[in-house]
């Protein structure tokens, strides 16, 4: 029986969960150091800021008091599992078919009808009936996180580092300036936070979903009206743990 969540997905999920929580909270501490955001290459005058950011309180930051050095220590450290993890999960998703099976959308998935149907199905059957693939809203949301927010976070983070000027000046130009990269880093962080909240609320609706992210769960047979599942692809990570996987 195939697992609903590949081992690679589960390992990445929990490492990434720890990483983004620490990155977000230490990032709020770093934000407190200069609470203005700018567009373009430079910016230091609050009069030029497009956004004056609030001072984030101690309970929301790592560490729990203003300490730029420690916050940067945490941020710089957790950037490693986050950054390496984003590369890892993309390679794993492409290799094991998770991306093609669950995250690629068709034009039909983007229609209002598909969105309404997804939400109706979700509230109607409860979160338990999720075994047969992702609905259009899930595909769009997860696709947006994997395809836009996580890479944007990683690349804008690299572009903010002055060392990047030495090896990837094109990266800073791609963002049209370091302060633009810094602003997008901030915006993407809140995008991930928004996803995080939705994700937690929906997962808490059915504790089995959380358990499955540890055990892997069981992938149910697709119902007849659903599109045919992707052909099986070798999954080295799964194969290593469970023998030959039976994709269904």
């Amino acid at each position: 029986m195939a697992k609903k969540h590949a081992l690679s997905t589960r390992i990445w999920h929990w490492i990434n969960a720890v990483a983004i929580i620490v990155l977000f909270m230490s990032g709020l501490n770093i934000s407190n150091a200069h609470r203005n955001l700018y567009w373009g290459e430079y910016g230091f005058d609050p009069a030029d800021a497009w956004l004056h950011v609030i001072r984030f309180p101690g309970w929301a930051t790592i560490p729990g008091h203003y300490n730029l050095a420690l916050a940067r220590d945490w941020h710089i450290t957790m950037a490693w599992p986050f950054g390496v993890g984003v590369l890892f999960i993309w390679i794993a998703m492409l290799a094991n078919g998770h991306f093609r099976r669950d995250l690629t959308t068709t034009p039909r998935d983007w229609t209002p009808g598909a969105v309404i149907a997804s939400i109706r199905a979700h509230s109607g059957t409860g979160a338990g009936g999720h075994g047969h693939g992702y609905n259009p809203v899930q595909k769009i949301l997860y696709g947006g996180v994997f395809g836009v927010l996580l890479p944007l976070m990683l690349l804008s983070g690299l572009a903010i580092s002055p060392g990047a000027g030495g090896y990837a000046p094109w990266l800073i130009d791609l963002f049209a300036g370091r302060q633009t990269a810094r602003s997008l880093h901030f915006i993407a962080a809140w995008g991930i936070f928004a996803f995080f909240v939705i994700h937690i609320v929906l997962a808490l609706a059915d504790w089995r979903l959380i358990l499955e992210m540890f055990t892997g769960g069981r992938r149910e047979e697709a119902p007849a009206e659903a599109p045919p599942p992707a052909p099986p692809l070798p999954d080295p990570v799964l194969a290593a743990e469970e023998g030959a996987p039976a994709h269904g």
Binding site: L68, A69, I76, G165
Partner: protein
């Protein structure tokens, strides 16, 4: 006294959490992890960029209208103030330490060396950036003139300013010391450095953050190790606040 058990419980848990967190922050294992992460970033940057990988240089019209002064913006030392008022006629830049030929250069001599002009972005650790045009000789040129000995591993910058009663200093490794954009700037946007930006001489180390850009430089010292300098962190902010010695992230 009205006791609110629930509130004290919450306060207790919060205090416990805070204590646990500060224990985590101060444990040798965590410090070792932080150091490994910092070293990893440096190794990655050095692997991806060549030793000479250049920070972006801008056009004159891309400069910021002004250049913010930060950290020390004035120097209390009476000799400094007297020199500032008269154009630094008796100021000397010493090149010392592990060198075969110690130097003591006047400002005029520094300006007479081959010059490099670069319009670069200054990134403060706090997050802001400013862009200015800097001019001065390459540090490599001075180090070659002083004949740095082989055992030298770091270059330390001694500064005239004090913060919190301590002398400001900074240090970089030989890769950054010999980088083409590492210059000892005497002018900003075509004018002699203002006091707030580090008159008469300041460092530009373009692939690192602002706190590495030592201002009011009076001596450049080649050393094998900076363990015995200050508190051993390799710089003022590294000692005082625990900032990362490698400020390329």
């Amino acid at each position: 006294m009205v006791d609110l058990p629930r509130r004290s419980l919450i306060a207790g848990i919060a205090a416990l959490g805070a204590t646990a967190c500060s224990k985590i922050n101060e444990s040798p294992a965590t410090k070792g992890l932080f150091k490994a992460a910092e070293d990893g970033h440096r190794a990655l940057h050095r692997a991806l960029a060549s030793k000479q990988g250049m920070a972006k240089e801008f056009r004159p019209d891309q400069r910021s209208p002004t250049f913010r002064g930060n950290g020390s913006v004035t120097v209390a030392d009476p000799f400094y103030q007297q020199q500032l008022a008269s154009g630094f006629p008796d100021w000397r830049l010493a090149v010392t330490g592990l060198v075969e030929q110690p130097l003591a250069l006047s400002l005029a001599e520094v300006k007479a060396l081959p010059q490099r002009t670069q319009i670069t972005r200054h990134d403060c650790v706090e997050g802001w950036s400013a862009i200015g045009e800097w001019q001065g000789p390459q540090l490599a040129h001075l180090l070659d003139a002083a004949k740095v000995k082989k055992e030298a591993k770091f270059i330390v910058f001694r500064c005239a300013d004090t913060l919190y009663g301590r002398d400001y200093y900074e240090s970089i490794d030989m890769v950054d010391a010999y980088h083409p954009q590492t210059i000892i700037a005497h002018s900003l946007n075509g004018e002699p450095l203002p006091e707030k930006n580090g008159a008469p001489l300041r460092m530009r180390i373009e692939r690192q953050l602002g706190y590495k850009q030592a201002k009011y430089v009076k001596a450049i010292e080649a050393v094998e190790s900076f363990d015995k300098i200050g508190q051993g962190g390799g710089g003022f902010w590294e000692d005082v606040a625990g900032y990362q010695w490698y400020a390329g992230v």
